[in-house]
Symmetry: C2
Subunit: 436 residues, 2 copies
């Protein structure tokens, strides 16, 4: 067999233990919060019939699908997000008790041009409520998001909220009727944070076809003071669709605040979100300390999407976490841990004859709830065993030589502080616990 | 857009919440044990260059790969197992501190003919030690497996153990020299549990080309009393490779028993395992109460596999759990839970004006560590809200009507027992806790 080069595909990557461990810790917290709010896990296949996915993400999305014929000549594709598979599941299971609250944390695949921090396989982390209209479900989703960011301990954050109907109102002021032009308007406004106001107005003029008079209206719209829903209401006449949207949004925000959540909510009429399927509330969260990471969490109401497979129309509202951004932000805030293992104690081994006692000690330490390894090459010199602990970031080493065995004690060394002591087993446990 | 049928691909399935919840619980226990032994998580991509996977699983395996050209005309394939990607990672990371102990719990894809209980996407759950030769690593893997089955509470089980060298010895007694014939011998013996002894001898005679004299040797080999390594040692002459293998196996078993593990170990020279790459210890676990589920866990030493990408040779030993079989066995033993949610308490809502107090109560209940839902369509009749709790398997309903609000109490109903009471909040918490 010719030698094959060991390499990963362009746009893909391995997650080594030192990165997986803190990522898993983060996702566990998220999952706990999902479960505490009554969201249940759902798992859909990695592959779907292509027709299930095609046309759901726009022409651009269709091109980014990993799509192929399987051995049975079926036209199949890897999932592109978790929302369309959810819509399929809802359509297939007419008897689901509603509201159906599910979460899914799973990789999705998009054949995008790889770039720094952008991969063709990445984790999505979504929770959605299917079958609940009105403000209550929206307040819950906002409160869920707020709780997650609090539990992740990311410091202060803002959840900017808006309502898609505001853009119907704006489009009507601009006398835009063609759906494509309205979509282009929203997409362009969505770039505000990235390209800035001037460039947005330029694109609106040159590419979206907004007139000079229209640009003045957009300017006035962008001048609306952030957080001031009264000013927003005054901007639209009562007959304008924007007025109803602002009043809807005001109700949701007030209710969220009344329930004791919503401290971080900031109504912001310029928040657009790029996806086309939103129909009501939209929101995005960013971290005060690291605004450059952009949106770390977002979502909204998408009442029209769930019936793409001919199921009865279901109202829907959801949340999606930017796992990679959140992880990067957390690493920057807290410093990345260098341990490539969760092991807390390495038991060193004195030759083959020492393996049995070392294994027994390890089992006792595991019983005391310390992840514990025995060094598995018993003939290795003690110095090399210590270096192994050091390289892996294992904080403690336990040693039971003939002296300690005779006196039923154990020697524990704290590698970070360079301190050690000889203890009874229960004292050793307490000593380690106090230092972890 | 034409209406698309909502369906999953043949050989694939959705895992709905009622199944995901107990599966996740099971995998969490497994993961905790992995971590407590110092195994760290690794995540490799779902896709690899086809050349990385081709030829590693035999001609049959190559045919079962999901293989296709991506948009950039790269020849890629979905992972078929977790072992070959691990070998790739080890080859790519020459500076990994050894032994490298990793686990991975992830789906793999094989285009097999779908059958009852056999899917084209299924979860693998592997832990491996790379870079440790000798008995210590083998004892640890056995002890890890034993601990997992104990923690999963599957009742009594047997871990049958053998050594691949035994078949080198047997092949030499049968004067088999061609590698293919030896592989066929092992593969046929591996079917002993499935097709029985007579059929095995028939296949050996007709398809593997074993002579009548050879069949007598095989018969004597199969007659060796299970568990008796002295008899096994006596079967092979001292010069025969089988003798060294038996002595190796005896050392590992003795060491495992000395470390306090290994109670369930049962040496069985007829245990073969189908995969070709094993070089030493092999083992498989089955449940005493449900032998018909076959092997629920297995693995062995495969010292030759890790250098397929030209990395320096690394000894390796691993464990693989049969997630689906274990889950099915656990469900049969304990009865499958019918809850489609982890929610413990549903807070019913009395109209829009009741949503704020209901949300506050839910937050308090979450704070007391009960997963709690608020019913999200506040205008819904109370009877329908109760039916929702019932259909989802939520055990408790909390009610705070005007009476309870006035007296700062909460009414809790135990839906399973049909009992209820009005409590202060802290008494309510205690009442629920006592019944969970």
């Amino acid at each position: 067999m010719a030698r094959i080069q060991a390499r990963v595909l362009r746009g893909f990557r391995d997650y080594m233990p030192e990165e997986m461990l803190p990522r898993q810790k983060m996702l566990q917290i998220v999952e706990q919060v999902f479960l505490s709010f009554g969201y249940a896990p759902l798992q859909t296949p990695a592959m779907e019939y292509s027709e299930v996915l095609l046309g759901k993400y726009g022409a651009e999305g269709d091109k980014l699908l990993y799509r192929f014929l399987d051995n049975g000549e079926r036209d199949i594709a890897l999932r592109y997000d978790l929302t369309v598979p959810l819509a399929r599941v809802v359509a297939q299971n007419a008897n689901l008790p509603l509201p159906f609250k599910r979460y899914q944390i799973a990789p999705v695949w998009r054949a995008e041009k790889p770039a720094r921090g952008r991969f063709r396989e990445f984790m999505q982390c979504d929770a959605d409520i299917i079958g609940a209209s009105g403000s209550a479900a929206e307040v819950e989703i906002l409160s869920l998001g707020e709780r997650i960011l609090q539990r992740l301990d990311v410091g202060a954050f803002a959840i900017r909220v808006n309502h898609r109907g505001v853009f119907d109102g704006l489009a009507s002021l601009l006398e835009i009727e063609a759906p494509d032009q309205k979509i282009a308007l929203v997409r362009t406004l969505d770039k505000l944070d990235k390209i800035g106001r001037e460039k947005v107005l330029e694109v609106l003029a040159n590419e979206v076809g907004i007139t000079a008079g229209g640009l003045e209206i957009v300017s006035a719209f962008l001048d609306l003071p952030t957080g001031d829903l009264d000013a927003a209401a005054a901007f639209f006449s009562e007959q304008n669709a924007g007025a109803a949207a602002v009043s809807d949004l005001a109700r949701t925000v007030a209710l969220a605040r009344e329930t004791g959540c919503g401290e971080s909510l900031l109504p912001d009429l310029s928040l657009a979100r790029g996806l086309n399927y939103y129909t009501g509330l939209i929101y995005e969260a960013s971290l005060n300390a690291l605004p450059e990471y952009g949106s770390v969490m977002g979502g909204g109401r998408y009442d029209g999407l769930m019936d793409i497979f001919g199921a009865p129309p279901h109202p829907a509202v959801g949340i999606s976490l930017g796992v990679d951004r959140l992880y990067a932000a957390l690493s920057e805030m807290k410093g990345s841990e260098s341990a490539s293992t969760a092991t807390k104690v390495l038991v060193v081994v004195f030759g083959d004859e020492g393996f049995v006692s070392a294994s027994r000690l390890a089992q006792e330490l595991r019983g005391a709830d310390f992840a514990t390894e025995v060094y598995l090459q018993p003939k290795t010199k003690i110095g090399k065993q210590f270096r192994y602990a050091d390289r892996k970031g294992i904080p403690f080493v336990a040693i039971q030589g003939s002296d300690e065995l005779e006196t039923s004690t154990v020697r524990i060394k704290d590698l970070q502080k360079g301190e050690e002591g000889v203890f009874s087993f229960s004292d050793a446990v307490a000593w380690i616990q106090a230092r972890l």
